[in-house]
């Protein structure tokens, strides 16, 4: 079963916290400090649940999703956006369909784990089964 999670956030401590939470839940975490790093991991074959921060320098969360879709790297992933309350959402136009959920920062470790496990299950359920 795929238990791969990727955290994309420019803040080192946020990444470290998510790492600790994932470790406690026995999930494999890949860390990306920027949108570029995220894309690199995807190019190298990462597929799983991606926790994507919106506000990042240079390339923000929305730009990264656009690039993922553009490069054909979206398939096989589930994207959950990490957002602060009321952050601008003007750039999300047309990209909502690629986002499965929003998680408000700061988040509770149990909520995060529940959510990640739910999406991993969804990801691991074969599409055929789904349809049946």
């Amino acid at each position: 079963m795929n238990k791969k999670i990727m955290i994309v956030d420019d803040n080192e401590y946020v990444r470290a916290s998510v790492d600790i939470i994932c470790e406690s839940g026995r999930l494999e975490l890949t860390s990306a400090a920027s949108g570029m790093e995220c894309l690199e991991h995807l190019e190298q074959g990462f597929r799983g649940v991606i926790l994507m921060d919106i506000m990042m320098p240079e390339m923000d969360g929305w730009d990264t999703i656009r690039e993922m879709v553009g490069r054909g790297l979206y398939e096989g992933n589930i994207v959950v956006m990490l957002t602060g309350m009321g952050e601008p959402d003007s750039k999300m136009d047309g990209l909502q369909e690629y986002v499965s959920d929003y998680m408000t920062k700061p988040f509770n470790p149990d909520e995060l784990l529940d959510s990640l496990e739910y999406y991993l299950t969804l990801l691991n359920t074969p599409v055929d089964d789904h349809e049946r």
Binding site: G84, M85, L112
Partner: protein, 588 residues
């Protein structure tokens, strides 16, 4: 203008005097000419009597040359009796048109002079100067004489016998009235023509004057209208002639300079303003007059009432028909209010800019606060799970509360700034759905104290609003209720209303409020006594509610029967106008 007025007043009088003088001269000349014609006529009449007398003597001489009186009769020649013999006088009348008479002594013995009764004046006597001349002096008489009371042009010749003694007289004459009748006709015609001409002349002068008066009246009316028009315009208007003297101004200009029209007109700037200012005005006027076209410039002037105004001068020069500068016209536009409005606009623009800056600052701050809060928020519960020492756990719990407080403060401040920065677009929103969504957000807080929340809002009810802000509104009200409702208490959401206004209430059965706090609770950072030491609140919740309701053009207020008796928060929203569905719920 006074010059012109004087001239226009004098001209008609002069014209009338001239016309009357010419008429008078014409009448005098007429009279002199007629006098001369009359004198000529009289001379002619006298000459005519001379020739008539010659004809009389010639007629007499055909009958004889000597006159004598015999047996009381006058005889010509040897036998021709003149008494009663009217043949000769009638012949003379026939030939010359003059009446003729033969006198024996001073008595008419043959005549065609008629008496008043139409019979011949035989037997009547000669009297007056003619008698004296002929019979006393023995001389001829020529001239005017009255015969039987009627004036005649006459000629009397004495008739002598052989001894030379005056024994009678011959008379020829015409009635002056008959002779002068023709002259009088001519004179009348000439006088009539001259009189008519004189009258026409005077009449013409009078008409000319009347016409001129009419034109003057029209011009005056037009000038009055023009002045009235100018006076009605609130901007000061003036004009100057080529020498820089004021020729026209309106009321606004008078009040601007604080002088009357009479004090202004005809004066130059040097007579009205201080030397330095006058020179500056004069130079600017010269500049515009020499270079044709318009001149527009902004300036600040001090009105006579002492107010300092921002103005805009519009000046244009004009030229006379020869192309030489004729003067200039000017309008002063008061742009003080426009300037103030511009200033106001730029202030508002600056304020909007500041509020945009504030918003983006808050977004950044919120993000930057949330980012370090995330690890704290995520890790503290995990640490506490691993701690077995109760003292350490208590310390960690305090840390956790502080983190919660920081996070709440950041979130609420951000909410307050965001909802204050611009008014939302109001669209039809299902109110019950917004309330449900908020109930979901605060479910945990409600459950913590066993508070039951009942949404009694008609599920069909729609209001005009922003779904996001209304959810936030309910969320804030419900978290308050969750906090202050009685343990295991109840919160009820309901809405009543009409088409255009919906009154929504959130009622709890909790701590209640003092009367003095009812209005203050909507102020930012205000906390009622019971909440003052509650570190989990920020005192911003109801302030956010108030802003949201204000954004929806509504009112918000609180009612409480008193401490311990619960609180109800009311607010109004606009119905979406469909409003026929919602009383149904209350009928059940």
């Amino acid at each position: 203008m006074n010059h012109l007025k004087m001239a226009t007043e004098k001209v008609p009088i002069l014209l009338l005097i001239t016309a009357v003088a010419i008429a008078f001269v014409m009448m005098v000349a007429n009279r002199l000419v007629l006098e001369q014609i009359r004198e000529e006529a009289v001379r002619q009449a006298t000459r005519q009597q001379e020739s008539s007398m010659a004809a009389f003597w010639e007629q007499a001489s055909r009958r004889g040359n000597l006159f004598h009186i015999e047996d009381g009769r006058m005889i010509l020649g040897d036998y021709y009796v003149l008494n009663g013999s009217n043949e000769i006088p009638d012949r003379i009348f026939h030939i010359t048109g003059s009446r003729a008479t033969i006198f024996m002594g001073d008595t008419r013995i043959a005549t065609n002079v008629m008496k008043a009764d139409g019979t011949r004046a035989i037997g009547t006597k000669l009297t007056g100067p003619a008698y004296d001349t002929v019979f006393r002096q023995g001389m001829r008489y020529r001239g005017s004489a009255d015969i039987l009371g009627i004036p005649y042009f006459t000629a009397y010749d004495p008739v002598r016998d052989a001894s030379g003694k005056v024994i009678g007289a011959l008379f020829v004459g015409v009635k002056q009235s008959e002779y002068l009748a023709r002259y009088k006709g001519i004179a009348l015609k000439i006088t009539a023509i001259n009189g008519t001409l004189a009258a026409i002349f005077v009449l013409f002068a009078v008409l000319l004057i009347l016409n001129r008066r009419q034109s003057e009246r029209e011009i005056r009316t037009q000038l009055l209208f023009q002045q009235h028009l100018l006076d009605t315009i609130p901007s000061p208007i003036f004009s100057k002639d080529a020498l820089g003297r004021y020729t026209l101004c309106n009321k606004a200009f008078q009040s601007y300079v604080g002088l009357t029209r009479e004090e202004l007109i005809g004066k130059s700037v040097f007579e009205l303003w201080p030397e330095e200012l006058a020179q500056r005005y004069y130079d600017m006027d010269r500049e515009i007059m020499e270079a044709t076209g318009t001149q527009i410039y902004e300036s600040q002037v001090c009105y006579a009432d002492g107010s300092l105004r921002d103005v805009m001068f519009h000046k244009a020069s004009f030229r006379d028909e020869h192309g030489t500068p004729g003067g200039l016209v000017g309008v002063i536009l008061d742009i003080t209010e426009r300037k103030a409005a511009e200033k106001e606009r730029s202030l508002m623009e600056a304020q909007r800019h500041r509020s945009r800056m504030m918003e983006s600052l808050m977004i950044q701050l919120n993000h930057d606060l949330n980012t370090p809060l995330t690890p704290l928020f995520a890790l503290l519960p995990m640490i506490r799970r691993k701690v077995e020492d109760a003292g350490v756990d208590r310390m960690l719990e305090i840390c956790q509360q502080c983190v919660n407080q920081i996070q709440g403060l950041a979130g609420k401040s951000f909410d307050l700034v965001r909802i204050s920065s611009e008014r939302p677009r109001l669209l039809p929103v299902n109110l019950a759905v917004a309330a449900d969504s908020a109930m979901g957000d605060v479910a945990e807080a409600l459950a913590e104290r066993g508070v039951i929340c009942c949404n009694a809002i008609d599920p069909e009810l729609k209001v005009l609003g922003s779904a996001e802000q209304l959810t936030l509104l309910f969320k804030n009200l419900l978290s308050n209720a969750a906090r202050y409702a009685a343990q295991n208490g109840k919160v009820v959401l309901s809405a009543t209303g009409w088409e255009d206004e919906v009154v929504v209430s959130v009622r709890d059965d909790g701590v209640g409020l003092d009367r003095e706090h009812l209005n203050l609770i909507f102020d930012e950072f205000y906390k009622a006594d019971s909440a003052r030491h509650d570190l989990t609140t920020q005192g911003l919740g109801l302030a956010i509610c108030k802003r949201i309701v204000t954004n929806h053009d509504g009112r918000i207020w609180a009612e409480s029967p008193g401490p311990g008796l619960g609180t109800t928060i009311f607010f109004t929203l606009k119905g979406d106008g469909s409003g026929d569905a919602f009383p149904a719920l209350y009928d059940i």
